[in-house]
Symmetry: C2
Subunit: 280 residues, 2 copies
């Protein structure tokens, strides 16, 4: 029996991002059309699983899912939200986008704004960037001392363990692109007036420190990968493969959770009789 | 030239819900398949309009949309969120569901929990129930005195005028179903184990007061309809027609708003040159 999608993309114990091909297709569909077909199946299964998760919460269930998306600019965090998030009922999604912290956010502990966005029971939360920025940009741009960002690994692990404890299943995806692909995508944003709003001159400052970021990613994934809050490295140079891979990771995760519709806490036959007697 | 979708569904000055056919199709597609075709076109336009609205906000734009959904149980508020909300990028949607107020919510003014969920600039907010519950269930169930709920009409009008002032375009839909259709849908929820979680014995208590609710709806729409925060009555006995109608109302509203992608606040050629020089 072959490896699962989760086993295939799980970050290695000693992550070496140069050794992982951003264009790789180690499992699953080999072309866009096969991926599209598979997404239809996964989409309807995910939609059903999400509805059961939501329903379960209305019956007192405590479980939720948190999908953390990280990656360099243009790696496709927004695209995953659109194409994978778009597979399920928007009513069961909670999307949070973490930008440069505001003064109010900076005045609090770095996990404060994150805690405010943890998905409630029944929801699939998707984080577009996350608390990992506090060990990525914060480190590369020296926004805090090494002592501070190193301590954050433990704080993150404790926080994620707490989420698991509460019933939130955490999965984290690094959308792994090559610097060449990023250059093409940034150029496309500059060339197309309908895409220019996505471009930020600061993106180039981060690009200039590409390998420092890769080191920071590798270290963060090494320090904060666990069976209950795993990191996956998703080859993302091909958008269709990236979307398929994240959908498949979410599908495997929810399938294993196996959410169930709750049992009614009322007498079904009695309600049928009441309804029949209530002619309006 | 024919009426627009908005003109067609706009609540009459003296609303008489008995005179509006919940099964009517006064405009648009005559069958499900024609509606599905039209939804594809509207969906891609809505998606584009929503992206422009979102983009505009990143450039300092203040505009947002708020779609308020009201209707008796099973009228299809959730279905509209799934099928109409599902047409656009979930990242640009803000969905808020208002249930029976919590003790904390009750301790505040009735608009407090509503204000907390007003969509930020760039977003399409969808309210599954809303501040109108405070002049509907609150009135029919005598949760507050007549003096209190009557005063709320003015408070709602002032609040919605404030939203308009802030840049939030408000549209409100009453999903209008017949009591016969409700009976069928409630029975379906009782019969199907995967739907039972949506059933609440309290639904029958509200059903028993059907015509009191219709009076409360008519009065609320009469008191709180305006050109800047219009009420629409959407025939909702046919699910496909209901979804089409709400999508069309949203499409017309956003088309009129005509959101534009923002102009870049950086020198595009200079950025192209910087990018070209940044070989990683």
């Amino acid at each position: 029996m072959g490896k699962s999608v989760r086993e295939t993309f799980r970050v290695p114990a000693e992550p070496d991002l140069k050794a992982i091909d951003p264009c790789g297709r180690p499992i699953g569909p080999k072309d866009k059309s096969a991926a599209a077909d598979d997404m239809v199946d996964r989409g309807s299964r995910l939609d059903h699983l999400q509805e059961a998760l939501y329903a379960q919460a209305t019956g007192g269930g405590r479980r939720a899912v948190l999908l953390v998306l990280q990656g360099m600019d243009t790696s496709g965090k927004g695209g995953v939200i659109r194409h994978v998030g778009g597979l399920v009922n928007p009513q069961g999604l909670h999307i949070a986008t973490f930008k440069k912290p505001t003064p109010e956010e900076l005045a609090h502990h770095f996990l404060w704004r994150i805690r405010n966005q943890v998905p409630r029971p029944g929801f699939i939360g998707i984080f577009d960037r996350s608390h990992y920025e506090d060990v990525l940009v914060a480190r590369v741009e020296s926004l805090v001392s090494e002592e501070v960002w190193r301590r954050r690994y433990d704080e993150i692990n404790a926080f994620e363990a707490e989420l698991t404890e509460k019933g939130v299943t955490v999965l984290k995806c690094m959308l792994h692109i090559s610097p060449e692909e990023q250059a093409e995508r940034l150029l496309a944003r500059l060339d197309d007036p309908a895409k220019r709003w996505k471009y930020n001159p600061g993106d180039l400052d981060a690009r200039a420190k590409w390998w420092e970021y890769m080191q920071a990613y590798a270290d963060a994934m090494r320090a904060c990968d666990s069976d209950t809050a795993p990191w996956y490295v998703v080859p993302s140079d091909r958008k269709w493969y990236r979307n398929w891979a994240v959908a498949a990771l979410l599908d495997e995760t929810l399938t294993e959770m196996d959410p169930k519709f709750p049992q009614p806490d009322f007498d079904v036959d009695a309600e049928r009789a009441r309804l029949a007697s209530l002619v309006i």
